[in-house]
């Protein structure tokens, strides 16, 4: 298949259910809200090594936040509900509670909730106080700067992780240019995050390794430097660099939309080829076909 001058492989991305939450952080200034969000979402690229995946969703105007201050929303995903609750407590406790001027709120509607502020309140060592407003309980935790305010319960929902597109370029600069364009297009959407640095991963992995105990290792079939060494290479002769964008979202539709935006943007920025990663379809319940993803896609 082709989109403009870009070859699009007739394949699919294989995505998995993961539990997600939306964290709204506010602060005295947009800069401090960003500091908290960057810290919260740091080292959260993959559940393989970080126990969760997280990213900044978007900046929030004061009119959009519960306390009328500048804010940032972030999404955090983990394999199960209990794991998600633990990661929320750990990360908000270490990254938002500690950050000057911040407050932290649940940003998701839903029946199912986990206790976050109700755990972090214990930092107050008995001096914490709660407030209930409009059916929601908040905890006021005294800190040296003043007071940290956090909502007690955060809604969690089953989302979709592992949506992806893989961008192949003629050289490293071309691949990066196309991937940057794709990531920028995807970041304009709500309900999704791109958990890797800048939204882009250069080290897509396969399951398992020749070394025992290693659950993931380099995806040699897409490594250009190994094209002459591996029998089943997927790197075309005129490709010199490959980058992957992984998408986690609150809904399958949001992930599919993000992949479509990314595909269009990558093609528009001169990607040589775009494909997607999967495990043959036997692992993940969500299969997102590249065919039919965008209207301009045509068969060769």
């Amino acid at each position: 298949m082709r989109l403009s001058d870009t070859e699009v492989v007739d394949t699919f991305a294989e995505a998995f259910p993961m539990w997600g939450a939306r964290i709204v952080m506010t602060a005295k200034s947009p800069a401090w809200a960003q500091e908290a969000a960057r810290s919260l979402t740091g080292f959260a690229t993959s559940v393989i090594g970080c126990k969760c995946e997280a990213g900044i969703e978007r900046d929030l105007d004061p009119a959009e936040t519960p306390d009328g201050r500048p804010g940032v929303s972030a999404l955090l995903f983990a394999n199960d509900r209990e794991g998600l609750a633990k990661r929320l407590v750990e990360r908000i406790g270490q990254s938002v509670l500690t950050c000057p001027t911040t407050a932290c709120f649940n940003g998701l509607d839903g029946e199912e909730t986990v206790n976050v502020g109700g755990q972090l309140r214990f930092f107050g060592d008995g001096y914490q106080a709660s407030k209930v407003l409009d059916g929601r309980r908040y905890w006021r935790v005294p800190v040296m700067e003043g007071e940290f305010l956090i909502e007690e319960r955060f809604a969690v929902a089953e989302g979709v992780a592992g949506g992806n597109i893989i961008i192949l370029g003629r050289d490293a600069a071309g691949a990066l240019r196309a991937a940057e364009a794709a990531a920028a297009a995807m970041r304009s959407l709500r309900d999704v995050i791109l958990p890797f640095p800048g939204g882009i991963a250069r080290s897509g992995s396969k399951v398992g390794s020749r070394y025992s105990g290693l659950i993931a290792s380099t995806n040699e079939s897409l490594c250009p430097t190994l094209r002459a060494q591996v029998p089943d290479t997927d790197v075309p002769p005129d490709v010199g660099s490959v980058l992957e964008i992984v998408i986690d979202g609150l809904t399958l539709e949001a992930v599919r939309d993000a992949m479509a935006r990314g595909l269009e943007a990558a093609a528009g920025a001169g990607a040589r080829q775009v494909t997607a990663g999967n495990y043959g379809g036997s692992l993940g319940p969500h299969h997102i076909d590249l065919r039919g993803l965008v209207p301009g896609l045509r068969d060769d």
């Binding site: 519960p66 407030k131 209930v132 908040y138 003043g146 007071e147």
Partner: protein
Amino acid sequence: MALTLTLREPPTVPLETEGLTPDRLAGLRRGEIEALTVWHGNRREQLADFFTVSGDGEEDLRVEGDLRRVKFLGAGMTAGRLIVAGDAGMHTGADLHGGELVVEGDAGDFAGTGMRGGRLVVRGSAGHQLGGAQPGERTGMRGGEILVHGDAGDQIGAGLRRGLIAVAGRVGAAAGLRMLAGTIVALGGLGAQPGAAMRRGTIVAMSKVILLPTFAFACSYRPSFLRLYLRHLRALGLPLTEGQIEGRYARWCGDGLELRRGEILILEAGP
């Protein structure tokens, strides 16, 4: 047209209307409503002896007439909307559990006592013991919201355990007496001895307050939680300014004769 009960003339002695709430009247035929019991002094009477019934709303209930001697309007209500078109007597909204009760005039003493949920809005002024404890009980309001657009009397929020009481005008003496938790916001001035014997909870004042000597100054700061409360109250129609929402508040902790876990937050002048 909403289901409407119109009081024909003021009763000679107080009329008690406990149970005349939109949730209980929903689904009843007109004849059944007219046959409901009200207490006129110590006599059991029928509602039709005092009220004319009109309209047929399912959710809203409107009560009209000179209701200053009608007690317990909306008491025990759990859902729906009750509008009192004018002044209401004592115990209006007592034991309110849910829904919205709007008094378009003044409300008598003991309004919202023992409330557990829902919202009581008084467009005029409220009397003493607003949101306080029901007779014989120590604990006052346990949930919900009371908004008063005018003034309020003495001992509002006495024994308050949970919930929010906000008064746009002036509040009388001993607000938050023996309060256990919850929040009282006084936009138009706070009378003497606020928070006497309070254990926990918050009283917010927007002007100078004469405090009991058993309260101790902690610091001056901008409480994050208060922004939520004041923005919420502004959204509900109370006259909050940006200066009040963004302002610095002096935090006084007390009552020192109790736990000293309560606080009185007083807006400071200037940026």
